[in-house]
Structure formats: structure tokens, C-alpha cells
Amino acid sequence: MQQSEKTAPRARVKESRREKWREKKEARRISAIPKQQRISHVSASDKVAPYLLSLPAFLIVFIFVFLAALNTIRLAFTDSTMLVPGHFIGIQNFLDIKNDPYFKYAIVNSSLYVVCVVPFMVILPLILANLVRGNTKIMDFFRTSFYMPVVMSAVVVGMIWTNLLDSHGLVNSFFLAVHWVQKPIPFLTDRWLLLFSCMFVTIWLGLGYYMVIYLTALANIDESLYEAAQLDGCNAAQEFIHVTMPGCRPTMILVMMLSTIAAFRVFNEVYVMTNGLGGPGGEDMTMSMLIQQEGTGLQAHTGYASALSIIVLLIVGVLLIIENVLQRRLDR
């Protein structure tokens, strides 16, 4: 066993030398061919084919992403509504945002969502994935169970949790029955409790999705690293910190980015749990809900909603840049 482990690196070195030698030989062969001959065996259709093949995808992206984005930028500088094209009004929409009380709620709530939800989304699914890895039937069952909320409709999820958390729901009934509280906890009627309840549902929903991503990453960690850690006397927690986490680092960065975007743009859970009103007084409104409120319906203020969309785009862009910079610093 030890002998074969020692010889393996030598074989790999030999193989890579052979590969380099082959590449050099091929390069010499091609350079020996006169230039004209070299070009002549690549036909015109070969040159055009890649462009033609990528054209449908390019058109779809161009029309439904770039044109739509450009149109949003254009609309942001107009007073257009859904039915009236409107006029150019400069940066008036952006100035109006400053005085919009709902924008203040929305920006605070969406930012809090990122701060509170993202750390859980990065760590908890990794722990979960670590617990359910393996090919036994019971692990299959747990993986499926944890993934179940992902395939459930957000509306159904919202309704389940609304019924669980309302003043006569299961959670409050239990707390009252065991005399832990004297009156129902206002999970769905207090501004902050409602927001944290929504965050809890978002985490519950996202666990399974990110768990699957982590399972793939875990499968790529070399088992010998765990064996080495065990030989060094690491316990399970130390293995997780010193082997699993570093091994999944690129995936953790990916999950962090994905969950940051999702958290800042959260809509479904908050919409359903607040009956579309953004909580009592609209104080639990998020950025996506505000855009939806302003930008849909027959009397929609599409210009204003577009300006809000640009703000969201800029904030998410800045967050991603910060995360990217942090990642590079950590890599060093």
C-alpha cells in the first residue's frame, strides 16, 4: 500500500512530461506547414458555424435580458405609467425615492435580510450536508426530507407558517398550553417578529437547496484528508473546521453570493406571510415588494418602479463586489 502510494506521484510526473513533449511535437509539426496551407484546411463554414450555433441563445439573451435592462434604465428617467408612455424627467424618480417612507422600510428590511439570513444559509446547509452524506437508505430519506420544502410552492409554505405562527396557531397554542407565555406572541403582527419569522421561513426553505450544492462539493473532498485528520487525532468538529470547510470554500463563496442576491431580493415569503401588505402599516415591506407594488397593476408607476429596480441592481452589484474582494483577500 505504502509502496504504491510512493510510486504514484512519479508516474504522474512522467505522464505530464510525456504530455508536454507531445504538445511541443504537435506545435513543431504545425509550424512546419506553410501558412497558406494551414489556413486552407479551415473552411468558411467552419468559421461561421460557432456564431450561427450561438445565435439563438444570443438573441434570447439580447432581447429578454439586455434590451429589457436597457428599457428599465430608460424608463427610470421618465414619468411613464403602465398605460401612458410618459416624458423624460431626469433624475426626479431617484429624488422621489428619498422621500418615500416605504423605501426606508424596504431598504432596512432587505439589508437586514442579507445580514441575518446569509450567514445561516452558508453554514447550516453545509452542516446538514455533512450529516446526511453517505449512501445508506436512511440518509436518502433525510436528504429527500430536507429537500422537500424546495419543491413546495412558496404560497403553500407561507400558508403553512402563517397558520403555525398566528395568534391561534399551533406554536402559540403550545406556548400558552405549557404556560410559557401569558398571551400569544405576535409573530405575525409585530414589525420585527414578523420580519424574523419571514427570515426563519426563508432559511427553512433554502436549506435543502444549498445542501444539495454542498453535497456535490463534499463528494469532491479527498477522503485521504479525513483519514489524515483522524490519524492526527481530530474529532468530528475539528474535522469539519479543518477539512470540510476549507475543502468547500469555493462552494461556500458561491452559496454566499447566491444567498446574498436571493436575500436582498426576497419576495415570496414576505408577500404571503403579510398578505401582500408588507405587514401592519407596510413596515415589513422589502425592496422586491415595493417594486411589485409600484410596478404592477393598471395604474402602475413603471418609471418609478424602474428607478427602484436600478437601486436594487446597484446595491446587489456592490455587495457582490465586496464579497469578491473579501474572497481574494482570504485567498492570499
Binding site: S167, N275, G281, G282, Q293, G297, L298
Partner: protein, 433 residues
């Protein structure tokens, strides 16, 4: 002299020639009327293509096409989810269906954008076919809009107030006379908060225009150019809800409750009263039989002696319609007394055509002594005498939500009742422009 005779003969000859020409003109006009009822129009309804309504609408369309050879009605149906979004996209692209189904909240923005025919101009006699309340509900004014009716009224709905008499007795409220005015309502609520804990009056929070209009507060000025529901009377009215909330008479969930949640609260015996439809009784009988035994029904709370919350559906004609005469004729047909009656039987709604409510069907439905018959009787009175207070621009989801959100903040003590109403009025006025 000879030339004068010749001139006279010439005039007579010319006149003689003109007579048949005039007759030709009349003939050609009538034939063009018939011709104008030929062709195809698209008729888009809202969530009506299903087992319940499809047979009726298919039959009605076939009958019309049979009576008007050469006409073709293409019936389309859109799901309720995203219906307004669909219409707005179609309107923006100039591709609206010829006949559009929708309530005043859908009709108003389309009319304001100049996408609909003004029926007061195009079909003035239609006004005589429908009840005054129904015609008023589709008639819009103000803000650069041509005054007129922009839809043929179709089905109408409203409902009574259901009361849990068991809870009323438990909380010391007399069941001999159910509260009908706001003073009676708040007096009963005060009695309730003194005698009961964890029982609430209703989920009404002063977050809907109905709550104000029914207290005699004007929502808009007569020319529909400005919202005015922030008067001292309105502030006092909202303050009564604030006081009731502080006294524990309104559930916290009501601050952002939906209609279905209101029904849940009522069915599990947490609230004393709720507004429902004329046919809600059957649902209570099935879902909450114990509650049903203790139910009483009364008119909706109003200081005006009539309902301010009647809701109307209508059919409008798009300006882009290529066969407007056919579209108008068909819409008159589908909303005529006979067809409305048949539709109302299926949909548990009420008619908007004059006199149809006196049909034996409605008389029979309201003649019993059971809860549902009483509810139908009250609703019949409501739809006949009542009106829609909901300004179409306000009943758009945003305006509606905004008022509820501001009222909720006032109830929580985060702002005064006056601040809430001032903000709601400012917001609504900004939407009018």
C-alpha cells in the same frame, strides 16, 4: 317666361330625382346597420371558462350568432391571476380584446388612457336599461377624461352583516336589535370590551373607503378630481377604531388581514361580526354548524340607511375594436335582463338591469324565514338602493393597500388618525394625476 317655365320644370325634375335617391339613402343606411352587425369581435371574460359558466356563455353566444348571421363572437377567458397585468400589456400594445370584462377598477385606468369607447356618446340610450347605481359606477369624470360611461353594467354584488348572537349575549350586547349605524356599532363594541376578553368586534379597522363612505363621509369631490376623506369627521371616525383597538376590541391580525382570514376568525368564534355575501350562510352551515345555529343577519353598518359597498362588474368596448356596433350590440345582448337573470342564478350575483330584481326567482329566494333567505332579502335591498363608494382609482390594489397600511399605523399608535388620513389622501391624489 319660357326660360322661367323651363327652370321650374328643371327644379321639379331635380326634386323628383332626389326623392328616390333619398329613399335609396334610407335603404342603404339600414343595410349598413345590418352589415355593421357582421364580422368578428373578441369577447374576453375573467375566470368564467369552467363547468359552471361555459355552458351558459356558449349557448348565449350561439343564440346571438344564429340571430345575427355573419356575426362571429370569439370568446376568450383569462385566469384571474395577472388579469390586470395582461390587460395593461395588451392596452400598451394597442391589442386589447374588443369586449373587456372588468370592474370599475379595471375600466377606469383603461378609460383614462383613452383605450375605451365612451358609451354615453356611442350608445346613449343604454343608460335607460340599467339601474342608476350601476350606470353611475361605470361613469367617470375629471382629470383630462371625457365624462361618460365606459362600460355596460353586468352583474352586481353586495352582502349583509353576519352576527354571532352567542358571543353577543356572552359579552352583554343586546341581540334584540342588531347594530346598524356606526354609533350603535361602537357602543356595542364598548360593551363587549368591558365584558369579554379575547373576543373582538370585527376585523374592520377604518382601512377601507367603505368604512368612511358608510359614515356619510365623502371620498371624492363631485367632479372626481380630488380626494377629500381627511375631514375632521373622518378623523373622528378613524379615532373610534383607534380607541377600539387600544381597548382590545380589534384583533392585531386585522391590521393586515384578508377576507379569508376574517372568515376564519368568525368561524372559530373570535369575532362577533363580519360582512359576507348573500350566500355565505350555506358555507357557515357546512363549515361551522355550531356557529350557524347562533347566527343573525343584518344590513351592513351604515349611517346613510343604504349600502355604500355595492360592487359592479361591467363589459367595456375597446377603442381599437373594428366592429364597434357588433361589439355594443352583443354586449347589450349578454347584459340584457334575460341573460343577466340566467347568469345570476349560476353565480349567486344580482342583476344590474332595471326591474330584473323583481323577477319571481329573487322573490322566491328571499321569501323564506331561514338565514339565507334573510341574507338575500337584505342584499336585494342593498343592491337596489345602495351604491359603490369605491372610487375606481382608489380600488386599485395600491390605493387600497395604502389606506389600510396608514390606518394600521394609526391603530398601533405610530401616527395620529389625522396624519394617517392626510397621507392616504395625498397618496390617492398623487395617483389621480
Amino acid at each position: 317666361m319660357k326660360s322661367q317655365i323651363m327652370k321650374g320644370l328643371g327644379v321639379i325634375a331635380a326634386a323628383a330625382m332626389l326623392v328616390p335617391m333619398a329613399a335609396c339613402g334610407t335603404n342603404s343606411a339600414s343595410s349598413s346597420n345590418k352589415d355593421s352587425l357582421k364580422g368578428t369581435v373578441t369577447f374576453e371574460t375573467w375566470n368564467l371558462k369552467n363547468d359552471k359558466y361555459t355552458p351558459f356563455l356558449t349557448k348565449a353566444i350561439k343564440t346571438y350568432e344564429k340571430n345575427h348571421p355573419g356575426s362571429h363572437i370569439k370568446w376568450l377567458d383569462a385566469p384571474s391571476d395577472g388579469y390586470t397585468q395582461k390587460l395593461s400589456t395588451e392596452a400598451a400594445a394597442g391589442e386589447l380584446p374588443d369586449i373587456i370584462d372588468g370592474g370599475p377598477a379595471v375600466v377606469y385606468p383603461l378609460a383614462k388612457a383613452g383605450a375605451l369607447l365612451n358609451l354615453s356618446k356611442e350608445d346613449p340610450s343604454a343608460k335607460n336599461l340599467y339601474t342608476e347605481g350601476a350606470w353611475n359606477a361605470v361613469t367617470f369624470h375629471g382629470n383630462g377624461m371625457q365624462v361618460g360611461a365606459y362600460g355596460y353594467p353586468w352583474y352586481v354584488n353586495d352582502g349583509p352583516m353576519y352576527w354571532n348572537t352567542k358571543l353577543m349575549k356572552q359579552c352583554g350586547i343586546s341581540t334584540d336589535k342588531l347594530p346598524e349605524t356606526w354609533d350603535e356599532y361602537f357602543a356595542a363594541a364598548k360593551t363587549m370590551t368591558k365584558n369579554c376578553k379575547n373576543v373582538y368586534m370585527s376585523t374592520m379597522i377604518g382601512g377601507a373607503t367603505d368604512d368612511y363612505a358608510s359614515a356619510g363621509i365623502k371620498i371624492m369631490n363631485p367632479s372626481q378630481t380630488k380626494y377629500i376623506f381627511n375631514t375632521p369627521k373622518a378623523v373622528k371616525h378613524l379615532q373610534q377604531f383607534v380607541d377600539l383597538y387600544k381597548a382590545g376590541g380589534i384583533p392585531p391580525e386585522a391590521l393586515s388581514a384578508t377576507w379569508s382570514q376574517q372568515a376564519d376568525f368568525f368561524q372559530r368564534g373570535s369575532i362577533i361580526a363580519m360582512g359576507g355575501s348573500a350566500y355565505s350562510a350555506a358555507g357557515f352551515k357546512e363549515n361551522a354548524p355550531d356557529l350557524y345555529k347562533n347566527l343573525a343577519v343584518g344590513p351592513k353598518i351604515s349611517d346613510e340607511g343604504r349600502s355604500a359597498s355595492v360592487s359592479y362588474d361591467s363589459l367595456s368596448i375597446a377603442k381599437t375594436c373594428k366592429n364597434p356596433k357588433l361589439a355594443m350590440d352583443f354586449t347589450r345582448f349578454i347584459t340584457n335582463s334575460k341573460n343577466q337573470l340566467e347568469f345570476d342564478k349560476l353565480s349567486s350575483c344580482f342583476p344590474s338591469t332595471k326591474g330584473t330584481i323583481n323577477d319571481p326567482y329573487f322573490k322566491k329566494a328571499s321569501s323564506g324565514s331561514d338565514l339565507q333567505s334573510q341574507a338575500v332579502k337584505i342584499t336585494m335591498k342593498a343592491v337596489t338602493k345602495g351604491y359603490s363608494n369605491r372610487p375606481p382609482m382608489m380600488s386599485d390594489a395600491d390605493g387600497w393597500n395604502y389606506l389600510q397600511q396608514q390606518a394600521a399605523l394609526a391603530l398601533q399608535g405610530k401616527q395620529t388618525a389625522k396624519q394617517a388620513l392626510d397621507k392616504a389622501v395625498d397618496f390617492a391624489n398623487s395617483r389621480l394625476r
